[in-house]
Symmetry: D4
Subunit: 164 residues, 8 copies
């Protein structure tokens, strides 16, 4: 099945973070592709996969990077697809550099910034699902079920704490 | 026409920032509604307008707030629609409080965080357009035209600088 | 005995921090209940336990959460009881995100913010005791004894250091 | 009427901020006293007014200070009354110094920290009212009315925005 | 004369900052060109002028931008010329976002980051001169004269202060 | 011999940091005393040892504390002796809270702030020696010897690196 | 009279801040000299005046600078006199850069850091007086009188607030 | 062969970071020397090796230091050679202190700041190569090959991720 979401990361060391986005997309049965492109070390490839994505029917891009995290911004500059950015805490500054580099985009070119690290990667997957859900009949049921499951998990944990 | 985007802000003092989102939506001819709801001062209203939004066909929510900016997060907790958060620099901390309160969402409930202030509000409108564009035949042309116009503006300004 | 204090946390991983609040309340013989509710994943439950607390005679609420820590703020929005917030350092930003999300409340809805982590959780318990102490005849003696014990512990430690 | 709340600030330049706490207490018809004491320039006075407060029936202390804001902490060290701290943005660091100096109290001596500046001062007054409300029959009605008024103000502002 | 240095900025509002770089280059009689290119709004132009620069004999690039300042990084990705980055304080975060976005480059693609704002722009010009000076016989004398002039200015100001 | 320097710390867990101050004083053969006093948990003791210090001939006070580090400020409020403050990184915020609480003193009551942690504790000892050196004939030779030893250590390490 | 204190600043624009140190020294009748030396623009002069100071009987050095404030550190490297550093908020980062550059000295070379800006400059003067007071018979009375005057000023202001 | 680049670090504990700069220079076959000099502990040596460098034909200086990292700034003050600064995360503040001390140089004396830690050290080496490349016929080929190799490494890693 043709991928609807493209997950890109700046380095293979970002994989343990970014595969959280993949896991939740798999849960939602949304086809995706995951790859590596560095905004700085392989800029032409970054532009190319952005354009290819648009051309081949990808509808949402998720880009994760650390430090001066330019990946999401560079991809957003080259596409009209929604781009979700995941800041990764891979530098000594613990991700505040990646967060500001991702979120403080100038007017004209939005990047949808997520939380730093795994929480952000997982949420990137969910946001992609919410966006795709707008045009997929029946998908809202899946999203509601996911929300309900989270409520149940909270209740189970609350029950465990109560019994202690 | 029924609004496709709901713009909410925590206080009427946020209007000069948040109307940037409205302006760009108007440019894109996307119908929207703009209102005030405080996550803290009027929490029931906040939940109600979130649910009403989903029920009445709104497809994207834009929420702007300052300080401990919970508005976008609270709305995201109550909907499966994509929620875009705009941190506003209305406290002495210049918006870093609003940014962290907006972007550092826990796994399960994404908020698409924008830049602090007017740049972020404008980009929230563009991201909403990109999201809606995925299901609107012909809209991609509009988005591409908008991107092209920005290039032209850069060129004009570069020309002016050159002539100085 | 009916709980006078309700301790709530956003996730079961916050328990090692938040049980510090419970320990000190136990020391003060103040009945309390401890449970889990996420402002984001289980928003309705959060509102419900807030209202139930007020209805069933709880007099102080302690809420601990990490990252974009909205729990205390959401509970404060729904009650007229004093709400004490404990920021937890569970994100890569080491709790500065949770602190700002907890303390920077807009005018109208106060949250009594404590220090980040275990120190804050313990102090939340003591503040709850101080508040309840205002209406409990004889309780001030207990609070003074606790203060005195701390002085003695400092003296003992000073003595140990002196002997080295 | 004997004051129930003592409002203290480190310097007379803090008055425009701290009188926000007084205003809301006046609204709630809670008697209060407002004075100046510097934890650093007049430490003995600070201790004396703290002890006098406890002795003369004050039940809540509100202390506002800027920079290395020690006032609330010093007062909390000398009393078993609840102490509310208001960080003031009077140094070039815009209040982040005052916030951390106020909120990061060590285990044993809580200070209930509010937001930086006027929002925090106003909320300090409301929190004091919530605390005193626990032992004042009928006061909960006043607090609920205040909460309701805030909802109405939001609605009025929303109406204004709608009409634009 | 063919430009040896290319000064680029993200927006025409950055001109008052970036012309500091031009002024000092003029003082050093180093030919330069100044233009506008946005890494986000005109990405293709940014790449094009980077490649053209290399092709037409430019030897040093100076790039100034604010917020999520990617301009220097994007240009560095496309050239083997030294790229000097000037962070500009044009967002509510006062340039700390631009600084981290400029300086925290991943291994492989250096950007020589300067101080935020005008001080940084002026220093970018001097660093460019130092770099070009390495291959220009006699230029070291010019640089030493410039250093000496700064010493003299300090002395003059010291004299003025002494006379007060 | 009567102590010339009093080293105080807020908690026994600060000892591994603060004994660095003691070690260097021992090296300089300056008699000192080391003890524990918490500005918050044992405020009267803190004042008492400050006054006793002045009375018994102590000439410099070194105070180390973490989090909302008020110890040095409180002691400075009660003495006309020079007070040196050492911020300790014992909270999740890694000492930035302790640094700001120590250094941002209001006009009138100085604290000589050192670097966070062991570097700061060691330097506190050296600064105390420099201050005492002003009135101790012959001591300047000791201080110069210490400075010279540091130069030699740098040379030895440089030699080692060269041989690699 | 020969100066006992040398006040140095990096630039003449720092004079309005640094003359606060001079004013208080004048109040204390301590002879001082005030001059300009930039650690970066006039490094040799900086070393020279440091050595001259030591040679001519100066006993305390006060150095104020902004941005990457190296002045105090450089002077401390070249003397065994106590060096007091005043961080100045002259860059867009509002003095946090100057504070960290001044206070985070490596082990071996202490700088006594003061608060950012005028408060710090004034306190530098007082600390210098406290240090010199250790060897000046009768001076402690002056320092105690100064402390007492501050108490009285607080009382006067408190009285004014009471009368409002 | 005579060194073209001088790598200096403030302490031998910085060697694991700074040898990254050496490794890449070795790869580029650029002769370099590596040594230790502390701006604070051995200031005369620091000035001497800076002047010797200029005199003996060194063309680029790389200086790495942590905390109040003055090394690069001090060397820049004494030379007209380009100085590259590498901030090292050796203090509890994780390098933000070293970064600001390195990058926020006043107008007149530039330091080319790199990212914090190993990434920055490696990039310092590459920037030195780019600078030297301007005057070395044929060297641009080497730099382009290095850039190409990085692209290939990204492709290889992308391929590995694809196969998973």
């Amino acid at each position: 099945m043709k991928p609807k979401v493209l997950i890109v990361m700046g380095s293979d060391s970002d994989l343990p973070v970014m595969e959280e986005a993949g896991k939740i997309l798999k849960e939602f049965k949304i086809p995706y592709e995951i790859t590596i492109a560095s905004a700085h070390r392989s800029p032409d490839r970054t532009v190319k996969i952005t354009r290819d994505a648009e051309r081949t029917g990808v509808e949402v891009i998720i880009a994760g990077a650390g430090a001066a995290a330019h990946l999401a911004g560079v991809m957003a500059a080259h596409t009209i697809l929604p781009v979700i950015g995941v800041p990764i805490d891979s530098s000594p500054l613990k991700g505040i550099d990646a967060l500001l580099s991702t979120v403080q985009m100038p007017p004209g070119i939005p990047v949808a910034a997520m939380a730093i690290g795994k929480a952000g990667a997982r949420n990137a997957g969910i946001l992609a699902a919410q966006i795709l859900g707008l045009k997929t009949p029946g998908f809202q049921k899946t999203l509601r079920a996911h929300k309900k499951k989270m409520v149940e998990e909270v209740l189970k944990k609350a029950e465990k704490v109560r019994r202690k």
